[in-house]
Assembly symmetry: C2
Homo-oligomer: 412 residues x 2
């Protein structure tokens, strides 16, 4: 019988610092269509191949004119201009204007050579066939968008590291950048280990359970914008576990190991990880509940997290690390999770020296902060998470919270 | 020359209420693999086909015992039990215990018939070969998870309308639900109209611009979890516009029309929409800048939004409606957008009676609220949005904000 395990437990924040010091991500890059690049991270600066707009255009519906022909115009004393016709959209001007002349132009239409301003249609009145009265003077360049006014040719459009939003995709396409270099999504491998585990589509015999960690952790990775890789289930055997973990690490950027519940697997997970590459295990034991027996490692410049086999613990620990790992992989700042302020429905006790994470239901209370009802009881039941609206943290050096205390509930 | 258009402008909130009253979404449903159902909405209640756990199991590493054999045990006066062997993970117990006997069991292991409690390994001491001292009594059912304790067979697992999170996927898979009925994503069609428009991969001749609305609006739809459908570019011709809009509406759940900049297209967009189905146009003219000439319609129980052709206006108006439309399609509550409190770097003027939306850059200011710098100037340049961190609203009946005012900046 192996002896009980003892851990020197380390707070999550310290674990993140250790990972930060030991892991210098080197994400791969790929060329992809800009139109399909939503949320992708630019791998390089992008300079505009063209100027935008490409030509001098009207900002309004109205008449292209020479501004000096309108100087002094007013309601009482309009300027009379002769209309030479209408400029077609999508074509270079087929005509130009001379002194005292105007061309009907639409918003976005290209100005003819000799026009230097546009009079808004609302500031004109049609008179005899082919003539308008201009009721207000325009200054040179008024209602005109200059070529290159939005972006000069060669200008920096978007910088390396930018996460592409709808407007960025629009800007890039407007400038003629139909493809970009983007960082590849991190590949997050999940390998489970345990003789009792079967793939989730299996019928069970007594003593067997379905391995759901690959799917909860994979879905979390997907939600964070990473690419989950299911590495399957290893039998409870150190050599098989090592062989499959090593193959998984070679194929992925981040490796999550979810050791089966058997004591022996827990015993050798640490050794298996240390064999995967240097520096190996950075810490074994987190000051967090659930999740204490977690292993944090970096092997060959890839993070490896040894998670508890229990699905609830595994997911709650992964929530502490995965957002950080995925953000750091892409060189992005870590976004704070969505959360709401709530009032605790009941007292919550906690030991100091560890951070407790409790699932909680939120109940709206009219106008005030919602009520947070911690879901207590056995922490290893997956439906305590499925029935929760969020997570409540009792921080490291807090003995607990009284009923009615204001707390932050992280929505998840 | 058509006369200037006049609108009776309506606030966005009223427009949303009109849509709510006139549109009763009827989303299609499809059967999909639970493992691939992240963020999908359940189309029906799900009851558990099995109980979880399927068998009575140990919550700890230790010894399966009959609780009464440990009553009165303490450090000073341990109970001696004879160990009959080890229970293998993943199998039904191959042995049972009698009085004074114990079986080594691992976390998650199945309890033998006659055991009713588990003594944690830390509360025992190995003595002679095949014997342990139990140093603390256990009560019946202590450290035991009962069959069905997480979920009873037939119990409601998750209700219709639930958006699936990683933990929900885990719970469903644990219970053996490998497939679910989910709502289909709304199909959001975008049709552009204008003779000056070319697909974004095109080289341009003078007077032409790339149609980027299909991609900014499509990316916004994608970001919201909808399925964008590019309906292409219609020539500035009412019959072609109608024909393509009608085909698009038949194929989609929500239709966005982005009329070219030409006056004539703007004139007939309203008629085209009214021909698409009843009740047709609900309003023409929003109390919002940019975006005033927007048309809101419902045709054959599908929302149709006639957006300005200008990419900035089109995207800003779409931001006002698309989150609502996508949430309502799926019967989900509208989530508030992510935002930060910031201080205005400069005075912002606005007319009362309309809501102004200004792109803004955020500049961190040490510990305090960040500084919001409105990006002023011509509002029709897409890079004013690409260079913005967020949007600043000056509400309907506010004349503007002074420099230093605290404002909410919506991150987008």
């Amino acid at each position: 019988m192996p002896s009980p395990e003892f851990f020197q437990v380390i707070p999550v924040a310290d674990a993140l610092r250790l990972l930060e010091a030991q892991w210098q991500p080197q994400p791969a890059r790929e060329t992809i269509a800009t139109a399909e690049a939503l949320e992708r991270i630019l791998a390089s600066d992008i300079h505009s191949p063209e100027q935008i707009p490409a030509f001098r255009k009207s900002a309004v519906d109205g008449y292209a004119v020479r501004a000096r022909d309108t100087f002094g115009a007013s309601d009482a004393l309009p300027a009379f201009l002769s209309v030479r016709g209408e400029l077609q959209m999508g074509l270079a001007p087929q005509a130009d204007i001379g002194g005292g002349e105007a061309l009907l132009i639409h918003t976005g239409g290209m100005l003819p050579e000799s026009a230097d301003a546009v009079v808004m249609v609302e500031r004109t009145q049609a008179t005899a066939e082919g003539e308008i009265e201009v009721l207000r003077a325009v200054a040179p360049d008024e209602n005109v968008i200059q070529a290159g006014e939005d972006v000069e040719g060669g200008a920096l459009l978007l910088a390396r590291g930018q996460r592409l939003r709808p407007q960025d995709i629009g800007g890039l396409l407007a400038a003629g950048c139909a493809a970009i270099d983007a960082l590849c999504h991190p590949r997050v491998g999940v390998l489970s280990c345990g003789d009792e585990l079967l793939p989730p589509e299996s019928a069970l015999r007594p003593g067997q359970v379905r391995d759901i960690n690959a799917y909860t952790l994979g879905a979390l990775a997907q939600k964070l914008g990473a690419h989950p890789v299911h590495l399957g289930i290893a039998a409870d055997n150190p050599e098989e576990y090592f062989r499959r973990a090593a193959a998984g690490l070679a194929d992925c950027d981040i490796l999550l190991l979810s050791a089966g519940s058997s004591v022996s697997a827990r015993d050798y997970t640490r050794d298996v990880i240390n064999r995967l590459g240097r520096p190996g295990v950075l810490l074994h034991g987190l000051a967090i509940k659930p999740g204490k027996p977690t292993i944090i490692a970096v092997c060959d410049n890839k993070p490896v997290i040894g998670l508890p086999g229990n699905p609830v613990s595994a997911l709650l620990v992964a929530l502490q690390f995965m957002p950080f790992l995925v953000a750091r992989f892409a060189g992005q700042p870590l976004e704070p999770p969505r959360s709401v302020r709530a009032r605790l429905a009941q007292r919550v006790a906690s030991a100091t020296g560890r951070e407790d994470w409790l699932p909680a239901r939120l109940r709206e209370q009219g106008d005030g902060a919602p009520l947070a009802e911690p879901i207590l009881g056995k922490s290893n039941l997956i439906f305590t998470l499925a029935s929760a609206d969020g997570l409540l943290s009792v921080p490291l050096n807090t003995g607990g919270y009284d009923a009615g205390a204001e707390v932050e509930v992280i929505l998840f």
